[in-house]
């Protein structure tokens, strides 16, 4: 296992300071503004459309294990989708190839329906572990799309080559499709086959964006400050190496060439 060196320790401390500091500021009531993310704005639209059509929707939390950051972020989005669906009296079918995701997703969806005051609408059979491998799951999910005549598909989380196997059959059913992944190799496939795509870190920001919780928004602002620090280090590093050579004091401190 790798261990943190001094530089990494300082970077972690700085990131934690900015993120927790902004969460603290948000707790004290300071308003936070974050930019619009069209893909996430369209989620409510898609749920509304499925409800109007009287058809269910599919939520697929990716192929990553439950401890994967992308999967965790996807489960955050599932909470929002399930809550909205419950408020509108609609059905969400969750399909997965990861068995550990089943009880977590079940708990999230059940809680969402209970919070919306519609616990009777929750059906445990809608949380489906369909297959143990990605390609079998893609086929099985495509089958659910045609059998249940789903009207909206949400693909959020970590994806591998199965992304296109999931979204292309969905595209042919005419359902509105929204996807979000942190795997940049899969982003072009989602862009080509989905109506809206949430890219990279936007996926991590999704639950904060959707819940509009000030504390969560505070963490997003902290994240942006951290990125400014990373950007400043990159620029200083590039300039210092260009003008002062690869062994200049800044590079020595950062420890790039160690």
């Amino acid at each position: 296992m790798e261990h943190a060196n001094l530089q990494i320790l300082v970077a972690i401390a700085l990131f934690m300071f900015f993120i927790l500091g902004n969460i603290h500021a948000a707790r004290r009531g300071r308003a936070r503004f974050i930019r619009r993310i069209p893909g996430l704005n369209e989620i409510d639209e898609a749920i509304g459309r499925a409800t109007e059509m009287g058809r269910p929707m599919i939520f697929h939390p990716g192929v990553g294990e439950v401890q994967n950051v992308g999967t965790l972020a996807a489960l955050g989005v599932l909470g929002h989708v399930a809550r909205r669906a419950a408020q509108m009296g609609s059905r969400v079918i969750v399909t997965t190839a990861i068995p550990v995701v089943v009880p977590v997703a079940e708990d999230i969806v059940k809680q969402a329906y209970a919070q919306a005051g519609r616990p009777e609408l929750f059906n445990p059979e809608d949380i489906r572990f369909l297959a143990a491998s990605g390609d079998q799951l893609a086929l099985a999910t495509a089958n659910v799309m045609t059998q249940e005549k789903t009207a909206a598909h949400f693909f959020f989380g970590m994806y591998d080559y199965t992304s296109l196997l999931l979204t292309e059959p969905g595209q042919r059913t005419g359902a509105i499709q929204i996807a979000g992944t942190d795997q940049y190799f899969q982003v072009p496939f989602f862009i080509a086959s989905c109506d809206y795509t949430v890219i990279g870190e936007e996926l991590y920001a999704a639950s904060a964006y959707l819940t509009r919780d000030p504390i969560m928004l505070g963490s997003l602002v902290g994240q942006d400050y951290s990125k400014i620090i990373v950007l400043a280090v990159i620029l200083l590093g590039a300039f210092s190496v260009t003008f002062l050579g690869s062994q200049n004091p800044f590079v020595q401190i950062i420890g790039v060439y160690r």
């Binding site: 261990h3 550990v100 009880p103 919070q115 196997l165 942190d182 086959s193 994240q223």
Partner: protein, 284 residues
């Protein structure tokens, strides 16, 4: 609320262990010696530190790291150090010693979840059969397949006999070709998706189309043949390489930095149970 508090506590403690394991050095800093290995015996190591030779007794909690010209030091058994190595030797802080056991614990927890997956499948398919839903006979086939798969699984590693035959039929002659068939569908899906993506409907789509055209032609001999008479920077293979390794890399690295910082933020929110919505609907 008690359940949530318990989840938050367990999450915090588990996260704290991994966090400390990463940030706390593997050896006690003030008792760690760093220098050149002078001699190694089964009971002691002699290091030259600042010109002085220091003897360290090999005890069960002693950890040694061999320094490498590049990259992080490599952990080795103290007796594996060689004369002339640059090494760091010191007593363990114990956190790293437990990492394998903690990881194994999570693997066991994950394995238990496979049972839940099977229960989920049984619930869905038995419901299909009970309510005679469309294609319910497919669900009957599911139960037959589960029973058959379990029996065939017993043939794993068996040298000969009907169990081995069953294992071969199910896993090698059925599952593997079927997986390859599904995988090959990707080619057709890619063709249709590319067709849609490359329809020039906007400036961005036109840019994407032009880049794809250059990269595709730049990868094959005809690209060079078509442009070999032009200055080198206008030749398709050169332009394709520039798009792939300069323009594309810049965009991808930008995404990576954002994602890494985002992952830290998500990790912090989960660790401290600040995540809302799906997991904790209100502040604890």
């Amino acid at each position: 609320m008690t359940k949530r508090r318990l989840i938050a506590l367990v999450t915090f403690l588990a996260g704290l262990y991994y966090f400390l394991e990463f940030v706390v050095p593997p050896t006690v800093p003030w008792r760690t010696l760093r220098g050149e290995v002078v001699s190694v015996s089964p009971t002691a190591i002699v290091l030259r530190v600042d010109g002085q030779e220091r003897q360290i007794a090999i005890e069960p909690n002693l950890i040694a790291y061999r320094e490498r010209p590049t990259g992080a030091p490599e952990r080795v058994e103290p007796a594996q150090l060689r004369v002339g190595d640059r090494a760091q030797v010191g007593p363990s802080t114990y956190l790293s010693d437990w990492i394998t056991s903690v990881n194994n614990f999570f693997i066991v927890l994950g394995a238990m979840a496979w049972g839940m997956g099977l229960i989920s499948l049984v619930m869905v398919h038995s419901g299909n059969i009970r309510r005679r839903r469309p294609e319910w006979y497919g669900s009957v086939l599911f139960f037959v397949a589960v029973a058959g798969g379990m029996v065939a699984g017993l043939g794993y590693g068996v040298e000969s006999g009907w169990l081995k035959e069953a294992n071969d039929v199910v896993f090698n002659y059925l599952l593997r070709p079927m997986s390859s068939t599904v995988f090959s569908l990707l080619a057709f899906h890619m063709a249709t998706a590319s067709y849609r993506a490359f329809r020039v409907r906007s400036g961005e789509a036109a840019l994407m189309m032009a880049s794809a055209f250059i990269v595709m032609l730049g990868q094959i001999p005809i690209g060079l043949w078509l442009t070999h008479g032009l200055p080198s920077f206008l030749q398709l293979p050169v332009m394709a390489q520039w798009i792939l390794y300069i323009a594309n890399s810049a965009a991808v690295r930008g995404m990576w930095f954002g994602m890494m910082v985002g992952a830290i933020a998500v990790g912090l929110r989960f660790w401290l149970s600040l995540e809302r919505g799906a997991f904790f609907d209100r502040e604890l």
